[in-house]
């Protein structure tokens, strides 16, 4: 079987398109590259959805934590403490157990949401359940980053806004929020990278892989188990991750340049790669 055939058969296997059976014997380098790459679709999907949804909640959490009213700041602080203070791994397990219990408790209510397989409900599937956990997790981490940036918004900017007669939401949307984003962006880029790397935990904690379609690490460890050779599949997944990390840096770097386009070159906030992957 040529590598092109492999690509056709297995390229989209992780999302259920193409050949069902995984190669069991005569595993070629091409098989490993294609299937691990196919699994990357899941990693990208998790990361993109969690980040996009998390961005909104993170802003809310940051504003909440900075608020003088305890009704807003206490819940925001508690939220950040719980999700940043415990391992993501445990959060996945706990969330899965909660999600398994919910439909059992109210089967009539949730029946409308049931997907094709009747025995499990949508939240217990990785495609939704894991996104919810990653979304809450990244909201807490980004919220803390945004809060830090919010505290260091230049006083002059806010005073200038006051002088222009801006107040309330308009001042926030036009002045404070862009300044906060600009200051937070380098750390937020790192957060995006961690979030992307954290997606590898999904199929290792709680959420079962359905029909053997998992993420990149799921396939990498499958190959390492089948061939007793960790020296091929793990470096392959590492290469994929390094490549996508560079892509994230490029995209976020472009956004950073845009956020800083009105700032004098010496004052621009620079991105520094500070990897800390485990959460």
């Amino acid at each position: 079987m040529s590598c092109y055939d492999t690509l056709m058969d297995y390229g989209l296997r992780s999302i259920g398109i193409g050949e069902r059976l995984l190669p069991k014997t005569d595993i070629t380098l091409c098989d490993q590259f294609v299937l691990i790459g196919s699994g990357m679709i899941w990693n990208i999907y998790f990361a993109v959805f969690a980040m996009v949804l998390g961005f909104g909640l993170a802003t809310l959490v940051a504003v909440g934590k900075a608020s003088t009213s305890p009704w807003a700041s206490v819940p925001a602080k508690a939220f950040i403490f719980v999700f940043r203070g415990s391992p993501l791994f445990i959060q996945f397990f706990l969330a899965y157990e909660i999600f398994v219990l919910i439909p059992k408790a109210g089967i009539d209510i949730n029946l409308g949401f049931a997907i094709i397989t009747a025995e499990t409900r949508w939240l217990t599937k990785a495609w939704l359940g894991a996104v919810v956990v990653l979304f809450l997790n990244t909201s807490a981490y980004s919220g803390e980053i945004f809060y830090g940036a919010l505290q260091s918004v230049p006083k002059g900017d806010v005073e200038a806004a006051d002088a222009f007669g801006m107040s309330g939401f308009r001042k926030f949307r036009r002045i404070i929020w862009p300044a906060m984003l600009r200051l937070a962006w380098p750390s937020y880029t790192n957060e995006a990278i961690f979030m992307f790397h954290a997606t590898t935990l999904v199929f290792f904690s709680g959420f079962p892989a359905w029909r053997q379609s998992g993420d990149a690490l799921y396939y990498a460890s499958y190959f390492a188990d089948k061939t007793f050779n960790p020296f091929v599949s793990y470096p392959i997944i590492a290469v994929y991750f390094v490549a996508f990390t560079l892509l994230i840096i490029a995209v976020f770097g472009w956004a950073n340049a845009r956020l800083n386009r009105h700032i004098a070159p010496v004052q621009k906030v620079k991105f520094r790669f500070k990897p800390q992957f485990i959460r």
């Binding site: 940043r84 203070g85 445990i90 397990f93 706990l94 007793f228 050779n229 960790p230 590492a238 485990i278």
Partner: protein, 291 residues
């Protein structure tokens, strides 16, 4: 306890007392010790590795410097969960390969036969005949090495940054007193670097705490393993039947980790205060005013 001899006759508080003191529960409590042991053993190794890495990066011998650079950057650039899965297998195979070469030189068949990794019986690690605790200890040590390698790279980076953050004037003063490079390094740079490295090290410690559930992935019987084992629903065939309680067990683990990070935060805050005394930093100045 005698009253636990017949669990089916127990009720209420007695049932709970007996349930929570079963042998498996004691293993569960002991596994918290495993986690703490891992933290206690890893932290010093990480510091030594990190310090050596940082010194290598500062070294004037190019190959040593490159080694330090490669170590810190490669390990930090790849998701470490991949390292955690990779290092133990790679180490295990490396050790067995080496033992195979030494102990069975007369076996000529290749070790990698297609999809199999075959070594002679005498080279197995640990030996198939060795007791269960040996297997567990071996697995635990492999995990420890993986943790130390990954976190050593992070620590090396932090300590390297800390060393470089010591004000140049301090080092120049040492030089002006006629100290050698070595003396300047050990007597001036190293004692002063900690206050700069501490925020990074605090962060690293928090991450290390939160990384401990990964022991489960490495096959060590840690708290996650026991929480799953004990929480799973038990039918009436078991002495203590109960429905699926994994939720409560995991909630307990969550509380444990929250407590660990909360307590660490307190300890590190005190340490930072202590180290800031007499330092030429904002923190040090603030202490001078209050004192």
């Amino acid at each position: 306890m005698e009253m636990c001899a017949d669990p089916s006759s127990l009720e209420g508080i007695n049932w709970w007392m007996c349930y929570l003191t079963t042998g498996k529960h004691q293993a569960f409590y002991a596994s918290f010790g495993t986690v703490l042991l891992l933290l206690a053993l890893t932290a010093p190794v990480v510091m030594v590795l990190g310090f050596s890495g940082a010194m290598a990066r500062k070294s004037s011998i190019p190959p040593l410097r490159w080694l330090g650079m490669i170590y810190t950057n490669v390990v930090r650039g790849v998701p470490d969960i991949i390292f955690f899965l990779f290092v133990p297998i790679a180490m295990d195979q490396g050790i067995e390969y080496f033992r195979h070469r030494v102990k069975c030189p007369d076996v000529l068949e290749p070790i990698r036969q297609g999809n199999d990794f075959v070594v002679c019986t005498a080279a197995k690690m640990p030996l198939g005949s060795s007791p269960q605790w040996m297997h567990e200890a071996y697995g635990f040590s492999l995990a420890l090495v993986a943790f130390a390698l990954v976190f050593g790279a992070f620590a090396a980076n932090t300590l390297y940054g800390g060393m470089n953050a010591v004000p140049r004037g301090q080092l120049e003063t040492g030089e002006a007193f006629g100290m050698t490079q070595r003396q300047v390094f050990w007597r001036i740079q190293v004692p002063q670097m900690w206050v700069y490295a501490l925020p990074g090290l605090t962060n690293l410690w928090m991450i290390l705490i939160k990384a401990t559930p990964l022991l489960f992935l490495l096959g060590v019987e840690d708290i996650v393993y026991w929480a799953r084992e004990l929480g799973g629903s038990k039918t009436s065939r078991f002495a203590y039947p109960h429905p699926d309680w994994r939720l409560y067990y995991f909630a307990f683990l969550l509380v444990f980790y929250l407590f660990m990070t909360w307590a660490s935060e307190k300890v590190f805050a005190r340490l930072t205060r202590k180290l800031s005394h007499g330092q030429a930093t904002l923190g040090g100045e603030a202490l001078k005013v209050t004192a």
